[in-house]
Symmetry: D2
Subunit: 315 residues, 4 copies
């Protein structure tokens, strides 16, 4: 991640603010506000603004519950209760805004989460930065042979070199041709004074999907957690998971009680189907179980055993 | 609007906070933060929290537009441009949270605006306040004879007295019976120690629709303006319009540039249909126009003339 | 549930249609299309329209997955896989529209589910039907002493009679006064020709919350299942649960494969927290477990044991 | 647009269905159901399913309005009234589903409309088709010198040839390298039996933004009209406008009354600001107007004059 001196100065200016407010503040989150936290080779996330903290969840739930809640002993108890019983609306009462720089093919996954507000850098209007995502060698995996949408073994040696060379060459060439068609370089300078450049909204179509874009992305805590549940998961593509992991760290600074409840009741939890429940019941009761009588498919059986770490029973 | 001493103290405590923050703040809005602004006889709105100000709209639009926007001269110019050309996403980058006390029949209109976050005081869990909306005499209108969902002339004299008496009596009696069924008074005290009260989730069904409820309501600036466009309008029911009017004042304090653009391009604007456009063109060109050749219905014709203040031409 | 002869005729007319279409149809759902299925004392649900069936989920998922899906053996396998792994978008590709008649205090719970389309009968515009929900004696429960928002033991004898009398009397009296203020009876006839009635939008505030309203409610299959997950649950209030149960029957007719997967992976499933998982692991491995070392609260412990039917271990 | 024989057969099979239904049907829309209507060089839209017609809007509005609406003379009158007065919910009661094939850079604009359901062909799971959008010579415009996000004069001659050659060459080369990295050709055949291919979720990043993708896209009529209002507009990029134009034709077949009202009250309408209204008033009253006293910026003044076709007054 490279920031220009101007960008660094703009961030420093924002961080030097010290405004008095009557609003609740999150001390830990304030410390990293505006900071560009690096992700992948050229990407970042920055927390730009936020509303509320753990106490705001309790506050709004207590309106919802009125006088009665006085008996609930602690904020932590209430937040855990709400999370455990799928109460959703109190978690919508906190809001956060990120500035994110990310490869376009990841942006296309990300935008599928619709309950968020987005302003993306417009390539109809401006020239995109000359930056492309090139995976590190540790991420150069072959197509999985067992999971149609996953990664398998690492690709190494000459084949790995060839892949990296292709990715670099093609991204560079298509970007150079993008500038040529625009008749304008990435820094805004004109190439040939006697020519008109192709419209930006057309020229951009020549760029590859690993080009970096950026956007402002704002959402409430509930929908952020839903995003993280799916994207900080081992089934998510690595290149979006690293963003989710970094965001999860900001959630911990922002709303630590909710973060702990989220780890316990969502991230680390197991969802057991009605049929799977019977298998667990039999196991606890010391009865012999096997896949034939379980009603589970082989895949389901293995997912169930794996989720509880009962590795010896996988078929 | 009556607040208990405890409630007054809680508000004062919140207002006495002075937290340092790196976030942008809205000076004028801070001044009225948490304050209970009275609406109707027992209702209020309170601004509980907010995120962003006018500059946040520009900031996110400029990410959207990137380097190119440096040429746009002022924030005001950009905000006006965005509003005029129906750009929506930058206005979603500001967020506000209200605590509202309002009659249930108004809450039922309000909740139809779905792009907001809501936590309502739960009558399954708690006892509702002993407060009902009784219209002032100035609001006691007859059914309109020309508008199926509007108000006509004022009802006065004995009939007005009778209406007010009915509303007061019925609300009081149904509330008293609510307490009786609950075996519990509004202050939480038990009526008959030897009896179990009816479940709250059942007893509440005896209350009338002018009972007051309350909720936390949070939305972004775009959806707030959409709400205000419909509810601060003369066609909206008076009892919701007074809430919208009060909220519009808070918008002015919060984002004054956006507020001015909203008045110019939405609240005070006229929407002219394709057929209506032809009529206006002819009028400007000094041609005689009449409803027969306009393709407009009588109702449309009058709406068009009224909207431009051409009263003499109404048929 | 009483329908007027006109309403019955309108339903019969709709049911007698036999239009040819190239769209997929659901044979079982067609059989009950438009039929008023009774719920509570005066309510109903009617399926008015639908789009798609089980095959539509597979069809859209296969576009999502492209050529690769040819290997997935059956529609059922794919639908179960999608449900198990929280894939949401394919289930959004089916849509259903209901006409529902329900008490207002239940409508207020229902409307909290925001991802649906709603048109409600307008009491600003029209007179509401003279119908109120009065619970059956089997539903007249006391407030629960252990659950702040639940029901406990049945109320019986004189106290039960008194409650029912109150509910009937208050609903009748407030409705009569509603007519008096409107100067119009429920059938549209005028009471006193020499008077103007109070505006409908005002008079309605005198009605009690057990008055019946009605609406058209349209949603996609994913959001319908989310609604049913929460509302067909034992923690939901009885008066909304009976609607959810009836709707679940229509889902079975409409998309039987999805319905079965929903029962297995949602309705009958157990969600085990990270801490709960460790307890189950120890139980399966024959180790002694107790609440002290589990990190679970007493409430959590009991919820876990109950969910697996391990009743003897409840503390 | 090329379809394989298998794809043509699948479409023909769907079109040969003749299922009886009690649901309302749209005769004109049924005629083109499933048909691939060509857009751009390789794209298409296909109507896959729909729910409701013009009468469904009236039906749901009449529940909303109850008995009272019997006096509204015709469906057309009601639909026009609803559209004119920004009533939104009745238009949400119709639903339509499209299958769309489109270039990725257009898909990225399209997906910004969030109130729709989407299933996209997954390049994590499958190989994308070997098809790229190459503009026709008539669309090869230079960047506009007056509109930062628009097109100006046509690029011609050698420069045009060079642009087209670049777009073709770069798309072809990056696709060939995509196959090479995958070790698999677009038809699914393996290139080198002794090698493992790069994971699909990685290899796809090498493709250019004019590659074609496809998705199922489902939305309600209200949100479809909002989409078309913005995208069938002259300010929209040509490459998305042609999709919107084609969809507008399907709306005409589906709900002809709503389509006509949409043209009159939205597409062909003029939105006049409060300040602009004063200018029009003065013009109608024969007073001299000029930009100085209007309070309008030069840009606003010109937009106002252009919208009414008062070309002689542009400054």
């Amino acid at each position: 991640m490279k920031l220009t001196p101007e960008q660094k100065q703009e961030i420093a200016d924002q961080q030097s603010q010290k405004n008095p407010t009557k609003r609740v503040t999150s001390l830990e989150l304030e410390k990293i506000l505006y900071e560009a936290l690096p992700v992948l080779d050229h990407g970042f996330i920055r927390v730009i603004d936020y509303m509320g903290d753990d106490s705001s969840i309790v506050q709004s739930a207590r309106v919802s519950y009125g006088k009665g809640t006085k008996k609930v002993s602690t904020d932590e108890g209430l937040i855990k209760y709400l999370m455990r019983h799928w109460h959703s609306t109190p978690f919508e009462m906190c809001e956060i805004k990120y500035h994110v720089k990310l490869p376009i093919f990841i942006a296309r996954q990300w935008i599928r989460h619709r309950t968020a507000n987005v302003n993306e850098y417009s390539a109809r209007y401006s020239i995109l930065d000359k930056e492309f995502y090139i995976p590190s060698k540790e991420q150069l995996s072959a197509q999985s042979t067992i999971n149609r949408q996953g990664r398998g073994n690492l690709i190494t040696g000459d084949q790995a070199e060839e892949v990296l060379q292709i990715l670099k060459d093609d991204a560079t060439r298509t970007y150079d041709n993008y500038e040529k068609m625009l008749n304008e370089r990435f820094d805004g300078s004109t190439i040939d004074e006697n020519k008109a450049g192709l419209a930006r909204e057309l020229a951009r179509m020549n760029l590859t999907l690993n080009s970096y874009t950026q956007w402002y992305w704002k959402t409430d805590l509930l929908n952020l957690l839903n995003f993280l549940f799916l994207r900080a998961d081992s089934h998510a593509q690595y290149e979006i998971r690293v963003y989710a992991d970094k965001m999860l760290e900001t959630v911990k600074k922002w709303v630590p009680i909710t973060h702990a409840a989220f780890l316990d009741y969502r991230i680390g939890a197991v969802h057991v189907s009605a049929k799977g429940k019977k298998v667990i019941q039999q196991m606890v009761n010391g009865k012999k179980v096997d896949i034939e009588n379980s009603g589970l498919s082989k895949r389901e059986w293995n997912e169930l055993m794996t989720s509880f770490g009962f590795t010896e029973k996988i078929v």
